[in-house]
């Protein structure tokens, strides 16, 4: 598989949100606006790339039976690192995303990539895989955030051209489920024809 292929497959063929349907909790909870979705996607991508690299480097040293707890510790270490970095440099984003930053530990995408890809492949390939899947996740979250912000608040990335109320339900819980359902349907229709 070519190097470029590793990155592009995460965007379309193995898109974690629209195709594999992994990591649904942060996808639904943090996408109240496009900016929030984008920051959550980037935060997850940061952890995903680093944990993929670390796990592929140490995979041979870990006994098979305790590999899952070992992976979780590696992931949790990088998440703690991320928490410190965000608290120091972007405290406002850290406050908005709140609980969902420590919850990156239990994001199934990251453990899934460790188990399905990183422990069988080299460090460079795993990093590229992390970038690809991370990009797919970020794009999906930003898109969902964009749709919800547009319908719910009539604004784009915080830019609000007209002073009017949107459909409030799209910023609240039900809109998350409904918007994601329709995005998946649109994604399926678009990829089907190719």
């Amino acid at each position: 598989m070519s190097k470029l292929n590793l990155i592009t497959k995460g965007l379309v063929k193995e898109n974690p949100t629209f195709v594999l349907l992994l990591g649904m909790c942060p996808t639904l909870a943090t996408t109240t606006s496009a900016i929030n979705g984008l920051s959550m996607g980037l935060a997850t991508m940061f952890v995903l790339i680093l944990s993929n690299m670390a796990i592929s480097a140490i995979a041979r040293l870990i006994p098979d039976k305790v590999r899952i707890p070992a992976y979780i510790v590696v992931i949790a270490t990088f998440v703690t690192l991320l928490q410190f970095l965000m608290q120091a440099y972007v405290p406002s984003v850290y406050d908005t995303l709140g609980l969902f930053i420590p919850l990156i530990v239990v994001n199934c995408i990251i453990l899934g990539r460790a188990e399905a890809f990183a422990n069988k492949n080299g460090v460079v390939d795993s990093a590229l895989d992390g970038i690809g899947i991370g990009l797919g996740f970020t794009v999906a979250l930003t898109l969902l955030g964009l749709v919800r912000e547009l319908l719910g608040n009539l604004s784009l990335f915080g830019w609000k051209p007209v002073q009017a109320d949107g459909i409030l339900a799209f910023v609240l819980a039900p809109g998350a489920f409904i918007a994601l359902a329709y995005l998946i349907v649109v994604f399926r229709k678009l990829t089907e024809k190719k």
Binding site: L21, L22, M24, C25, L28, A29, I68, P69, I72, V73, A76, T77, V79, T80, Q83, F84, L99, P102, L103, V105, V106, N107, C108, L111, A169, L172, A173, P174, G175, A176, F177, I178, L180, A181, Y182, I184, V185, R188, K189, E192
Partner: protein, 200 residues
Amino acid sequence: MEYILIIISAIFVNNIVLSQFLGICPFLGVSSKVNTAAGMSGAVCFVITLATVVTFLLNKILVLCGIQFLQTIAFILVIAALVQMVEIVLKKISPSLYQALGIFLPLITTNCAVLGVAINVVTKEFTFAGGQPHLFGLGEATVYAFATSLGYGLAMIIFAGLREQLSLNNVPKAFKGVPIALLTAGILAMAFMGFSGMIQ
């Protein structure tokens, strides 16, 4: 009185799945049959309550030693160990339920509802009935965790019932599987929004 408010708030008003978006993966994954959904909720209920009590006490030790930054790592390890224990116990006393839950039992470790509730309880300040915002004590934390997991079970079982009916219907091809389930969940979440405002 405060305990009753905590219970109603955790089950209906701030339902963990439908308004806090925690534990969505098993909510979508094991909800095709009511029986499996009920079994899963039982296991989750047990793990959440137990994990919250243990991590609550563990957090006191972490604070005492001044190593709170280890919170995430310590909590997830405790939860992983607890899940392993539940798995062993369940295998012994109810093999049929163990079979039915299958892959989803070890996945409780990565169910964000468990870690989410554990972290929420030790970091978030709650306000009830016009009182001062305060951190939970052990009693309140236990009640909150148990009620939250009851809310999880409630949402899960209602949703499984809806999906059982849904599987008999003719759904457009592009909507098959997850999209139609998400739409159903959206409508269910809208119904649960009716409870908001019930408790300030």
